[in-house]
Symmetry: C2
Subunit: 353 residues, 2 copies
């Protein structure tokens, strides 16, 4: 008996109903099915294709489509049934977030071997969830912490910390549920490719979604610096200096990480922006802080060439070049998806500390 | 700015799309809406009503219904759009589990005051997620642990442990995401109504869902006793004796807790079955073990009178009476829902240790 443990929080893909969907064949073709006898149109959208594809109905009222073969990956997808965009009702693996737009079904296409983000038979760290009082924002908020495998046993070491931020419409559980931070770092550590460090994943909204980026970063920054950092440094055995603190994020969180990191090189020696929603022209005002003696030990920006935000990262890189600020600009394949961000984490983590 | 922190993992109910659903009015009437211009029938099912109710369509193609006023509670519900049972696509608060049948949308109807399961301004414990190797089941499995507020600071105390099991179609995150164990215990502790203890929530399937209860309990029991207990007692400061160990669960997990607890009174001094899926006739074979010197310190069974499993608990209680085994049989209102189980936990926890 083998447990199919997906690594995310809510899905054990053992049990499916009489209508099996999605079904991944050994050749990695995937069939989606939904029983919708009264529907007049059913279509599929997903990260594995451009646009939408129509399903076809059989005499039992089951709509289906077979696509692929697909590359081994974790993909999001949705079904649209008579103009209502929804999930695949036969798939228990559901992606959620802080707004309705993020709801999707999750398809995992396995390889013969476990991927870099899969559970392997290696030592595993822990994920911890904390509730803390944010004095800056006058509310009780949650944050997620990854501790590496030996953290609890090795009571003398002090650890470095990566502060890692999610994107818009997500929350403080996104990097573990969808980004698989813990499994990626467990696997890197087991192969000796990165140092052990903590990852702190706060909730990235300081103001409600849709209230604008600049006000949000200002509010979030106060929560981070006045509440989250002191909370972490009081609760965990961490080394509290810039050489042992990194800051990174994706999309909205990439913008937050770049702005806060570039403004506060006294606090953070390592800065990363993954597909960052940021304005190079706005960030220019922070450049003088990271020149000279406050030089960063790492400034890493990456973006997929199919991402609508690619131009923003490209422009930022150009401005950094003009200001003679050393940085890496990783231009990868891919769009604005977790497929890209899991890979970036896997590349970024070995460069830290 | 107030963060609406729901206490479950995936939902911040700040942001909703142009079609607002569900909308809770100050009088606790609730309106559900969905844009489905091509649908010919939309209906609502949920824990707040019997059967289904039809929504009505307006000229913009938005279907809606207003119900209530509802009691302050956390309810599951589904929309059925042209015979496809699905979630409310405008509500980011989605209930997931290990099988498709569990997928639902979540409605929270707040009271003027925080409920016993809500976040309050009190000291908060932590939730920890572990990956461990189950030698008994030859797989990597996950478990969730709640540690009370002062666990990390108070490095000398050894704590009691409640082993707490989920029901069918759920997983090791159900008791925290849907049962709100952490918030309920935080609130009880803050009011001095229970002792501080750890809660260990393993994954309750030992064989795939649908393979039968008795084989499942046998396999799960080996994982629990040979892997989970030793893991917990090696990783946490716990008192490893029957006076400091409790075992309880709901539905399928209630059956597991009763069978394992009644068989092993040497290990567990406190046993609880919430709406348990159990056969009294089968459990009778375990009764002799808990008589005489191995008497349990607490045997607590509870079931809602509207639960189809009520008869099973009633029969078990009768057999326990006949065998002169001291126990509590809590006959409550309610059906087979988290509304009942959150309340049972709130009643059961103060009786422990």
């Amino acid at each position: 008996m083998k447990v199919i443990c997906t690594g995310c929080f809510a899905a054990i893909l053992w049990a499916q109903g009489p209508v099996r969907s999605p079904e991944v064949a050994p050749d990695r073709r995937v069939t989606f099915r939904v029983l919708a006898p009264n529907a007049s149109q059913v279509s599929l959208t997903g990260e594995f294709q451009h646009g939408s594809k129509a399903l076809e109905k059989n005499e039992q009222g089951i709509w289906s489509i077979t696509i692929g073969p697909l590359e081994p990956e974790i993909y999001n997808y949705n079904l649209t049934i008579d103009a209502v965009r929804t999930i695949d009702p036969n798939n228990p693996n559901v992606k959620t977030g802080s707004t309705p737009s993020t709801i999707a079904s999750i398809l995992e296409v396995p390889d013969g071997q476990p991927a870099f983000y899969d559970v392997r038979n290696v030592p595993h760290g822990e994920i911890r969830m904390h509730w803390y009082e944010s004095k800056a924002l006058h509310s009780t908020r949650r944050l997620t912490v990854y501790t590496p495998p030996d953290y609890d046993r090795d009571a003398r070491s002090r650890y470095a910390v990566l502060y890692l931020f999610h994107g818009a419409n997500a929350d403080e559980t996104a990097w573990t549920r969808l980004g698989r931070v813990n499994l990626i770092l467990d696997n890197l550590l087991a192969s000796g490719r990165c140092k052990p460090f903590l990852v702190v994943m706060p909730f990235g909204y300081g103001v409600p979604p849709g209230s604008g980026n600049s006000g949000n970063t200002a509010a979030f920054s106060r929560d981070l610096l006045e509440d989250v950092l002191p909370f972490i440094e009081a609760h965990y055995r961490v080394a509290g200096d810039r050489d042992h603190r990194a800051i990174a994020g994706l999309s909205m969180g990439g913008g937050e990480a770049l702005e806060i990191g570039l403004r506060r090189p006294d606090l953070f020696g390592f800065v990363g922006g993954f597909s960052a929603a940021s304005s190079g022209a706005y960030l220019q005002q922070t450049f003088s802080g990271v020149s000279g003696e406050r030089k960063l030990r790492l400034l890493w920006i990456g973006c997929g060439k199919d991402d609508t935000l690619f131009g923003a990262s490209e422009h930022l890189s150009k401005l950094l070049d003009e200001a003679h600020i050393t940085h890496t600009f990783r231009q990868s394949d891919g769009a604005h998806t977790w497929m890209v961000w899991r890979r970036y984490l896997n590349e970024f983590a070995p460069l830290l500390f």
